[in-house]
Amino acid sequence: MKEIYLDNNATTKVDEAVFEEMRPYFCELYGNPSSMHFFGGQVQSKVNDARVRVAELLGASPDEIIFTACGTESDNSAIRSALEVFPDRRHVITSRVEHPAVLTQCRNLRQKGYRVTEIGVDGAGRLDLEELKAAVDTDTAIVSLMWANNETGVIFPVEEAAAIAQAKGALFHSDAVQAIGKIPINMAASRIDMLSLSGHKLHAPKGIGVLYVRRGTPFRPFLVGGHQEKSRRAGTENAAAIIALGKACQLAGEHMEAENTVVKAMRDRLQDALMTAIPHARINGGGAERLPNTTSIAFEFVEGEAILLLLSEFGICASSGSACTSGSLEPSHVLRAMGVPFTCAHGSIRFSLSRYTTDAEIDTVIREMPPIIARLRQMSPFGREHLKGIA
């Protein structure tokens, strides 16, 4: 069965051109970029090229790019660094809808005696900037807010938030893992201090990330023990993955316009068709500015896992909330923070498209989804009662 892959916020296909770019750096050009000989040196020069390509996508300068192993490492490094830079500041601010890579770390800090504030969101998933303003003070070391939400695609006003944080001398970090490659980002015109990127969300392989640190922003390394990345991240460079990420960033820049026109049009067509065909459904975050590739739809009276497994019968790959929380018994913390009623939260399905998504694939989902929901509602003790009037 051919897969219809609509789970690109979980991970993406490695672009063939990206794979070709990295292929020689395993068995042939395997030198250590730090070595003095020509054999390592030629890898070093390709790593530098990749750094330039990543910087170009972000509108940054190459020396502001630190390669890490993943988005989670970048998030952890940013927050830890800020706390070391400001040992006297004992307050951290984040949001209630953050990815666990940030949220778990903040909650662990609370155990260690830090004051942690989690800013709330409204019913559409929009950040409460007033609450942020009230929360920041001169004790705040760092404010960490995601650029775009992984479950709903809702975009946060990170520039305004950064200004609010910096007004009290705090650093501002943004987990931009879901935003980069999907919407234009220009750090040259930004005031954000630190930014996280993950390679496998933009058609590079898993195991490569970036922490952007603005020139002049004080930084303390998380990993120590080597001079790599100008001593800001010790450990032998994952050269092949870095080179792949460079290519992936270049391609992401080239596809940016299509992402916001072609992909967005397919996303809109999918959600409009499902909302028309299926009663008792709602778009989570539908009232907010969102990423062009993401839609999260809540179907009342049915449960997400059952929907996913029935979709899977047709090769359709989607997600129920965040994959990171799929082992949990509670519905997604993002949807609960938005006040989505329990009746909807359990049955929320996220479709996330990419430049590989085709119109024919969207047609298949539009065709198969309504009978799946109807079938589960027919089985549900709640659905039948509530839907009597409609059927």
Binding site: A306, L310, F342, T343, F382
Partner: protein, 290 residues
Amino acid sequence: MWDYTPIVKDHFLNPRNVGDIPDADAVGEVGSLACGDALKLYLKLDENKDKIIDAKFQTFGCASAIASSSALTEMVKGKTLDEALAVSNQDIADFLGGLPEEKMHCSVMGQEALEVAIFKYRGMEIPDHDSEHDHGPAYPDYEGELVCKCFGITDAFLKKVIETNSLTTAEQVTNFTKAGGACGGCIPKIKELIAQVLGEASAKPRVRPEKLSNMKKMQLIQEVLERDIRPLLWADGGDLELIDIDGARVQVAFRKACAGCASSGNTARMVEAKLRDLVAEDIVVEEVSQ
């Protein structure tokens, strides 16, 4: 992705007996929308009101909840009410060729709906508790003190599930009942309940046999270690292994958290006391490092 057996998949994709029975004799309802799964079970009895001649269900929940409900209806059809009451959640899981441990709560929900249906039919109404919960009780017909406020689960219900499934860790209890799976606030209480159940199980009066053949003694020592001692150690993340039995000398090696634990000497004395109590007075426990 969950590793569901082909039988689970079949009962999910082709569920048996979906629907309702308008003139059902017994109806059992457990779970709620808020909890994420719910099951309404309908039973139709024969004219003697003893044998189940039809069973149907409506389920809101994940694939394993739907499969467990479907399996349950197939299992109880043709059974007398007493026979049906003997169906355990493990029987439902076995019928399905097993369930992932994280999904055992689905089989518990099925067994519970069956019990509630039959108890209600027989007029054995279990009084409601009136505690506060965050969102609806999962098993509203089960009395007792509310332990898990997130999923509305009482101590009486938890103790029953711990006992019938021989659970020894809080994580298992969450997998079987969902209790502790949300905010986690009740996990210390769940651990207490496990200890209570284990304590009660071992406190049941058991008589030390008068005289034992060597063979019988070795058997009994192994039995006591398995049933009374290892579960206690598991609860603390430890374990032990029986190395040798030579007459009254029992050699054990401590494993996991018990290995190298400063108080393993005390643990060895506890093991010895237990074996003296239940097997023979002259038993000596020696700790060996193997």
